[in-house]
């Protein structure tokens, strides 16, 4: 069907047709449309909110908050937005991950995004209105920034958008949306303390991800305090006057970025030195129980030998797993692996936790398809002994056992986005809703007698976003009392073991989260009016993520140090407790904040969503080919606002003379529908070109036909793909032969992929693709050709950074008009020229040991530096061959190589080795240099 050709435009078309149907990607995880949302639009003068009816209250609140932020940001930026802002809202993160506005799978760490082409803001609700408001405002800052700098640039007719560095745009969005916050304080304090604050324009900062946001936020706070927001506005308005960001910054301050950074570091050191004098620093001493990656949610259990061990969540492997280690000594071993198969797609790292009851039953939350599922695994047998999937609950967080092991309390987010408390009676397998309101109730914990539940909630605060308190619920009466009352936030309460009058929690009153203890008199029947006292137990300079009370004096904490969380065992008896204590009057949480309705503030109207297409891209190509001459064409892509439906158009002509125009006219239209779980694509095409095929030589072919494709994701990791093409083909060979055929081809594929990648290629997991399909010639009622492909890639993680990779691949073509494969080269049989091994069938087996080689290699030039980072090494062994008729025997090659990453994405590959036919070994060494990721 396809043949070797030089037509870049036609290749572009094929890529286009494949673009958005996930079925057409060779490997890759799936974006599964579990839900079919009934989209509505809520409009005001400034916003169009896209929502589904179940989340109307949320959409209405978002609209009100947006109008409030719009007024504030108009003043801050001195800029108005002259088009309504499209804002797409999902009631939870699992729904958000199904959005088609970004075609790539969305990681859990993304809390929303602003898409620049259609200026769309897309945001999920995580159940916490404070976070939601922060994300809304963060994205609106991006919108205003976009309008501000692009208005100025477009006014003068600039060819390109102002190129502000990412740390500036994200830092500004963070700082102008939430100012300063305990999380930023924790990260920046740690960076200053351990001296890893990266230079703002360094590649290393870009590789850190979240630290880039926080460094940008910290720098802009310093800049605004010292140089005022006026200079930031001036910088945005006048960026076009300068060649670069650094020159613009110097233009507005008179100082270089280096000088400003130096001032900033000194100011941070001065600021934090004051705190450090009276605070403790956690050290990597004998109390540290973990070493690699980030480790959170520690919980103690007794193993089969009767020894105390600690289970915890860890991200050390790229996946989130549950590991264990000794309570008194560090012996880290895997306990339960996740995020590699359906049903255990995510453990919600840093968002949820694990708990183990006295019987050794581990409870944890996993994402399983369209919603979260609570699972219980017995640690002795390592078997799943129970699970709970609530149809009304989409997301689940922080499950905790009761003391008797019969009940589990957890926070659940329903379809509308509300986060409430639930109890699961494990034996009866029933879930009961405890709260039902807009307030964010989280991190529940049973009292030792099981009659009370303490949890964290924003229900007592007068203003949304002003923090959270500890609340108590009496399970018999349903009465809720508020234990604490600011300032700051009290989070993650945990009842002290065997001490019913003491509750441990985290509080950020010192600027970062530290451990506190709340003493509760009359803990058996607390009532409004009693006075609770709260006392800090730690005074750490950086802070804690979470903790687990082992006994009265021993606490496991997940502490922040060197940009990672590590589990430490703290003995509180050895600590000098800070003296300051707070007293709180326990009250009913009345007169709390309410969701805004905004009925009187602005006029709004709601209507069903209608497809309205707008341009995604448009481009033209003119290329020159030494054989086929000048070729030209244009392509155009349009889609609706929600990205559910795409149309791709291609128009090209490869004629070399006016008389050939109608004979070399190429037109293709493809429609891709991503609305439902099964993604569909249909298209029509007319291609008429001159081609070359090594089996048939030069010829002219006109093909007119239909094409359809369907991809059905079984889950995130697996999918089925089907495609069919029906076309009429006429071939006119240059030597006089003529062929006319009506062809039908069908392909079916099964794809699996759970691999995770590092900068140079896959690191762990496995991928598989099986494809088969025949082509029939209707006109002559005959079999035309067939294709069968098997491609298995296995990645064995021998150590954290050491991977043994294997690729087993076999591809067969037989019949008329078939592919010819070329398997030599850096991506196939290394050491051979790309055209040295070819045929319509091939088998290949590649093995490679991948290991870290160097952190970076810096090439210094006068004007700028080029940095390769990281550099990884490989030892490889390839076996395979290609043939047409008879199998010619195996060829092989072996050697070693280096892969370096340039500009954060481009991989340079260097392979050195020897070839062999398994009888002799090539005497000289081959050296191959190429670009691209590892298989």
């Amino acid at each position: 069907m396809a043949r070797y050709r030089t037509h870049i435009i036609i290749t572009a078309l094929v890529l286009l047709v494949c673009h958005c149907v996930h079925a057409q990607f060779y490997f890759g995880r799936n974006k599964v449309q579990y839900e079919h949302f009934n989209w509505q639009v809520l409009s005001t003068e400034h916003f169009n909110i896209y929502y589904y009816p179940e989340e109307y209250a949320l959409a209405n609140a978002a609209l009100n908050y947006c109008e409030e932020f719009l007024q504030e940001l108009e003043q801050k930026f001195n800029q108005v937005i002259y088009q309504p802002i499209p804002l797409v809202i999902y009631s939870n993160h699992i729904h958000f991950q199904q959005t088609n506005i970004l075609t790539m799978p969305i990681p859990e760490g993304i809390a929303g995004f602003f898409e620049y082409i259609k200026r769309r803001v897309v945001i999920p609700y995580n159940g916490n209105m404070t976070d939601f408001r922060h994300t809304l405002k963060h994205e609106l800052v991006h919108v205003f920034f976009y309008y501000k700098v692009n208005s100025a640039a477009s006014d003068i007719g600039a060819w390109e958008s102002p190129n502000f560095p990412l740390w500036f745009t994200e830092g500004l969005a963070e700082y102008w949306s939430q100012g300063w916050d305990p999380q930023t304080e924790l990260i920046v304090r740690d960076a200053i303390l351990h001296d890893y604050l990266y230079p703002l324009n360094s590649y290393e900062l870009y590789e850190t991800g979240f630290l880039l946001y926080k460094e940008g936020q910290a720098f802009l706070r310093f800049f605004e305090e010292r140089y005022t927001a006026d200079r930031l506005r001036w910088l945005m308005e006048n960026f076009w006057r300068y060649d670069s960001f650094e020159k613009a910054l110097k233009g507005v301050t008179g100082k270089t970025l280096l000088e400003l950074e130096s001032e900033w570091r000194v100011s941070l050191k001065k600021r934090f030195a004051v705190h450090l004098l009276g605070e403790e620093v956690i050290e990597p001493d004998g109390t540290q129980l973990t070493r690699y990656g980030a480790n959170v949610s520690p919980v103690v259990f007794t193993n089969q030998n009767g020894q105390k061990e600690v289970a915890f969540l860890t991200s050390r492997n790229g996946y989130t797993d549950i590991y264990r280690t000794g309570l008194l000594s560090r012996k880290e071993k895997p306990l339960l692996r996740a995020e590699r198969r359906a049903g255990r797609e995510s453990l919600h790292f840093l968002q949820s936790g694990i708990h183990i009851n006295r019987g050794g039953d581990l409870i944890f939350v996993t994402k399983s398809g369209a919603r979260d599922v609570l699972r219980i695994v017995n640690l002795a047998t390592k078997r799943e002994i129970g699970s709970l999937e609530c149809p009304s609950v989409v997301s689940i967080r922080s499950p905790k056992w009761s003391e008797d092991g019969n009940l589990v309390v957890f926070a659940g987010q329903d379809y509308s986005g509300q986060t409430d408390l639930y109890i699961w009676r494990v034996v009866e397998s029933q879930a009961l809703r405890l709260t039902n309101d807009i307030y964010f109730d989280s991190d529940p914990s049973f009292s030792p007698d099981g009659k009370l539940v303490v949890f964290c909630s924003d229900r007592g605060r007068r203003e949304v976003g002003s923090g959270t308190d500890l609340c108590l619920m009496n399970l018999q009466s349903g009465e809720i009392l508020r234990l604490t009352n600011g300032p700051g936030s009290f989070t993650r309460p945990f009842w002290a073991p065997n001490q019913p009058d003491q509750i441990f929690c985290l509080a950020d009153l010192s600027g970062t989260p530290n451990l506190w203890k709340v003493n509760l008199p009359h803990a058996d029947s607390p009532a409004a009016g009693i006075v609770a006292t709260a006392q800090p137990l730690t005074n750490l300079h950086t802070g804690l993520q979470d903790f687990y009370p082992v006994s009265g004096d021993t606490i496991l904490v997940s502490a922040f140090r060197k940009y990672a969380f590590q589990v430490h065992r703290l003995n509180l008896a050895e600590k000098a407790h800070p003296a300051s204590a707070l007293t709180f009057s326990v009250v009913k949480p009345d007169s709390a904040w309410r969701l805004p309705s905004g009925e009187q503030l602005f006029s709004k109207r709601s209507r069903p969503y209608r497809l309205k297409y707008s341009l995604d891209f448009a481009q033209t190509n003119i290329v020159h080919d030494p054989i086929f001459g000048f070729l030209g064409g244009a392509q155009l892509g349009i889609s609706d606002l929600l990205g559910n439906r795409y149309y791709h158009f291609l128009l090209a002509n490869t004629a070399q003379a006016t008389s050939e125009i109608m004979d070399h006219f190429n037109l293709a239209v493809t429609m891709v529908d991503l609305t439902r779980r099964a993604n569909k694509a249909v298209g029509v095409f007319h291609f008429a070109n001159d081609y070359y095929n090594p089996y048939e030589g030069f010829y002219y072919e006109r093909a007119l036909g239909l094409r359809g494709g369907l991809s059905y994701p079984i889950d995130v990791f697996r999918r089925l793909e089907f495609s069919a093409s029906l076309w009429h083909s006429t071939k006119d060979y240059y030597y006089g032969k003529f062929r006319r055929a009506t062809l039908l081809s069908n392909y079916a594929s099964f794809v699996h992929d759970n691999s995770i990648w590092t900068y140079t290629g896959p690191l762990d997991g496995w991928s598989l693709r099986l494809t088969a399909g025949p082509t029939f010639d209707f006109k002559h009622s005959r079999f035309y050709n067939y294709t069968a492909l098997g491609d298995l890639r296995l990645y064995f993680r021998l150590h954290r950074n050491l991977t043994w990779a294997q690729r087993w691949i076999a591809w067969f073509n037989e019949g008329t008009d078939i592919y010819q494969f070329y398997i030599g080269g850096s991506w196939g049989m290394r050491g051979y020229d790309i055209r040295e091994i070819y045929g319509c069938k091939y088998v290949m087996f590649n093995q490679e040991l991948r290991f870290p080689f160097a952190e970076s290699l810096m090439l210094r030039f006068v004007e700028s530096d080029i940095r390769l980072s990281p550099i990884r090494g490989a030892v490889f062994f390839d076996v395979g061959n290609a043939w047409d008729d008879a199998f010619p025997g195996l060829l092989g090659s072996f050697g070693f190589g280096l892969r370096g990453v340039l500009f954060g994405g481009l991989v340079l590959r260097l392979d050195i080795g020897k070839c062999t036919d398994f009888e002799t070994i090539q005497k000289s060494w081959f050296v191959q240099f190429f670009f691209g990721w590892d298989y």
Partner: protein, 362 residues
Amino acid sequence: MQTHQHKAWSRRGVLVFFVALSGCYGPLQIPKITPEICVENPANPPQKIWQSKLPSPPKDILILNEQKALITTFRGELFLLNIATGKRCSRFWTPFRKPVQILLCDQRQGEIVVSGINDPKVYRYDLCAGRVLLETRLPGLDGTMLADEGGLFAVQNLRTLLKLTPLTFKVLAKLELPTNVAAGVFAFQGQPALLTADGHWRVYDKNLTLVQDLNLALNPYPVVGFYSDHLVIADSKGSILILNGEGIKYRRVLDKAIYATPILDADNLLIACADGEVISINWRNDKIDWRWQGAGPVGRELRICNDVVLVPYTRGKIVAIERHNGAFRWEITTDRALRGWAVSRQGILTTDRDKRVAYWKW
């Protein structure tokens, strides 16, 4: 033939205007805009007479006379418009394609001096003949120029104060400033003065020697209005200052940003804040006479027409409120966000984000 007639008419119109206003002024003057205009009937909203679209984004509007208005664009163009019909009489394309600013007008000869931001040259144009009279290399001229008997004073690259010859723009003296210039150059007691980004008010003599340095403790880019012998300054933290030769006459801090130049209306100070509120303060007794809350920021200066104050809201509205009590009178709406505006006895000219110019007649 028709084209020639049109051009001739256009040139005559310009000449008539410049001659009419030449009076006793010197040849090169800063284009001045009077905040208070006497109109026939500001009680009712003006009616839109015409609307047309320019080929590039408009920057500033300068109403020259009853017939003509001059519009500069961000892309190096100057348009001379017939106010009554909206027809473009002339189009001057400056040799640079950068935002154009009119530095000086020679009203007697029908000449203007223009520069482009970031452009290395200054051009002196003959509007009537449509040709360049002078082209001289003087990079980075920015902001307001001062022209008096002592010569021309201008700011170069935001950092250097220049003294130039009036006709040839030869540099007579230059002075490096300690920080960027925020606004200037102004004539203050017959001497050049400017406001620097560190919040200082600096006055120099004709030889560019510093004679007065007053720390006003302002944010870096304040807005400045010059009314007879009083200077009114406001900044983004809400500081308002009235200054004259005797020093600071009035100071007040409103907790809201101000991006539009306040107007000094005798004893009243009219301030439009970034949150849309318009405040009238009697600065003699520091009492707020009235407040009026509108929607969205105000990015341009207010205008007073008889007994109403016109407030140009950037979102695309011009609102008229009573001058003496702040009561709402009427409003007109542009289709898109408002960019620039100019008020004359006959009507209002507006430009918006969509490159459109509209004329509203009283």
